[in-house]
């Protein structure tokens, strides 16, 4: 079955993670849960990017005894999406930390984590 190939499984898992994160962002009232939703969305995108760079039966892009320099191109997966995802993970960590800092600040301001109590910008 085509669908049980590794790249399809990871792609569908990533898509489901993105949808779960989106659900968390739009439906949850608790600020911390919304941050978790963003984090899940982020993780899903990473998984999708990695699965796009996957080459069937490829191994990690590290050259050693098992993967020699000459035949490397036929044996390893694409290193470029992995480098991009490494960048994206770090940025995602920064964004999550920033959101949590805002949550701490908001909680100090209103004493509540419920988004419905923050009406200052609502029209």
């Amino acid at each position: 079955m085509e669908i049980f190939q590794l790249e399809y499984i990871t792609l569908i898992t990533g898509g489901l993670l993105v949808l779960t994160g989106l659900w968390g962002i739009i439906s949850q009232k608790n600020l911390i849960r919304m941050v978790i939703g963003f984090s899940l969305f982020d993780t899903g995108l990473h998984v999708i990017m990695i699965s796009i760079g996957y080459i069937r039966n490829g191994t990690a892009p590290i050259l050693d005894k098992a993967v020699d320099k000459v035949n490397a191109a036929g044996q390893i997966v694409d290193p470029l999406p992995q480098a991009l995802v490494l960048t994206a993970i770090v940025i995602g960590l920064g964004v999550t930390a920033l959101m949590l800092a805002y949550v701490v600040r908001l909680h100090k301001e209103k004493g509540s984590l419920n988004i419905t109590n923050f009406k200052d910008l609502k029209w």
């Binding site: 190939q5 790249e7 399809y8 792609l11 569908i12 898509g15 993105v18 949808l19 989106l22 659900w23 739009i26 439906s27 796009i52 760079g53 996957y54 080459i55 069937r56 990690a60 892009p61 590290i62 050259l63 050693d64 320099k69 490397a72 191109a73 036929g74 390893i76 694409d78 290193p79 470029l80 992995q82 480098a83 490494l86 960048t87 993970i89 770090v90 940025i91 960590l93 920064g94 964004v95 930390a97 920033l98 949590l100 800092a101 805002y102 701490v104 600040r105 100090k108």
Partner: protein, 230 residues
Amino acid sequence: MIKKLIYILVLVGAGIIMAQLFAGFSGSTELSETARYYVESGPEETGAANLVTAVIVTYRGLDTLGEVTILFTVAAIIAFFMKTREQRDKPKRRVSEILTTGARILVPGTMLFGAYIFINGHLSPGGGFQGGAIIASGFALMLLAFPQANLSHKTIRWVESISGFSFVIIGVLGIFMAGGFLDNSILPLGNFGSLFSAGAIPIIYIFIGLKVGAELSNVVGHMHEKQKEI
């Protein structure tokens, strides 16, 4: 009720969009042209056994510089938001014996492991960002076990500034001594696969590791101080 309907509509819409995007996906069986270039000429040009490191530190080194800058900005904003008056109140209950003893054993090992990860970034999975994150997790464990301890923000600032500055200096040296900004061949490429190889990549990664470790520890420290205040 109507809200739930909207949620379901949005989710179904997003699902349909993604299904459309995924429909054209067929797993690739060989590398794209760019990736092929990196794989074939990466080992000769950079000398790094880990090709992801070669891409991150040399080919896309400028992106990494921007990324470190973003982390710095995040740490600065969090420091601004979490600014507190120094006031210490007693912790609500004593830290458990198991945690303090465990931290005494584990923290030095964690720091050493982090350093190992970023020094070997050009040979094995890992690198500056991962090593820095491990070091920051060691600091987080330390602050959990000893809540009265305080990270010295001055030291952290110095470590961070010096490593960031050195990173840029090495990049600029590449313009004068080699092919361009952040070119790693300002140092001899050495023996492929050994610790002292890949030119400037290990040195750049050590600075990145120190910088990321300092920034994340700073974030952890600020959150910890905030917690003490509440």
